[in-house]
Symmetry: C2
Subunit: 210 residues, 2 copies
């Protein structure tokens, strides 16, 4: 490993400043605003971030990096499959909750920016879906989620754990209603209950005559 170059240090510092600016102003800074913020010549900012969009994507990358690390760590772990599923969601939930508790107003701003710039965020959501699909395939090899295609299982699981995935839920629900032990019960429920077989909840069409 080599020590980070000065350029790396400067980039990291600028991103930290940019994230503080977001929390304070409710908006993602342009490079012009960031130059002011950092009291740096604009040319030096431009040398690091070629466009405003590149700056925004760098902020996003910074925001999601720990989540990606969590997912990769869980996938590569040798935990049993149920434990993997739990950790896959619980660790990211805990991180979101920490951020939310630390600064609810800034958290709300990030959620809003994420909604507004959904096209930039989509790649990270797709990546999370990709990793979850890997876990689903692994579970299906062990006989779980029978009779469901991976995309179908993915959509159903994402919906059933939505309260622990979507950051907005920390604001919509009473935050203390969300808890790791409930998430664990939900994961166990999925493993013992989720399959493609219709078992009586859906209405049966065309069965007027018995």
């Amino acid at each position: 490993m080599t020590a980070p170059s000065n350029g790396d240090n400067e980039r990291a510092q600028l991103l930290r400043l940019a994230m503080q600016a977001i929390a304070r102003t409710g908006e993602t800074p342009t490079r012009a605003a960031l130059a002011k913020e950092a009291r740096m010549p604009r040319a030096r900012i431009d040398a690091i971030f070629a466009t405003d969009d590149e700056l925004f994507d760098a902020i996003l990358e910074q925001w999601y990096a720990p989540d990606i690390a969590i997912m990769e760590e869980v996938i590569e772990s040798d935990l049993p499959i149920r434990r993997k599923f739990y950790e896959f969601f619980a660790r990211r939930f805990r991180r979101a909750r920490e951020r939310f508790r630390k600064d609810p107003a800034a958290f709300a701003v990030y959620c809003e920016i994420g909604t507004d710039k959904f096209e930039n965020v989509r790649g990270y959501i797709d990546l999370a879906d990709h990793y979850l699909s890997e876990l689903i395939a692994q579970a299906q090899e062990e006989g779980y989620f029978a009779g469901l295609g991976i995309n179908r299982a993915l959509s159903l699981i994402n919906q059933m754990v939505a309260c622990y995935i979507l950051p907005q839920m920390l604001m919509i629900l009473d935050e203390d209603k969300l808890a790791e032990d409930k998430l664990a019960t939900i994961i166990d429920t999925l493993f013992d209950g989720l399959s493609g077989e219709a078992r009586g909840a859906a209405p049966v069409a065309g069965l007027r005559i018995a």
Copy 2:
């Protein structure tokens, strides 16, 4: 049955006007605004709605009346318990989706007002929880959701079907991701998988020595 009195007619018309005003302006009208809207003397409005708050609560009652009718109808039906659970959520989801599709902007306004005036809305949420608790008790008599207190089961079920309960979800998610057949699978999953028994998802504390 008796025909509605003129007073009832006028009240219903005023409420219709008030709801149109909400959709158009993004705000709940005061009685003064409603008088203007209806081209009616203020005194006549005041005779029907004694305070602005009373007007707002009447709008809310109007908004939720069909949901309450749905829940009561499902509870009193002689459907099997899984079918009851499904219809309890599916019928209200369908109604919300219809409203959303008809006028997404007005729907967003209603969601926002619901969040802002949460204290007024809470009674309706409590009522839905009350009805769902009745269904849970019925399911538990048939052996489902074993080992869970009713409040715990209530919280877990509300979380697992959150995508079909919370109106915001129609705006947060791609709307076409929400579908009745998925809801049916989620209900079947609950009935076959939800219990109070820990089955391996949760981390086990203090088990360092095997």
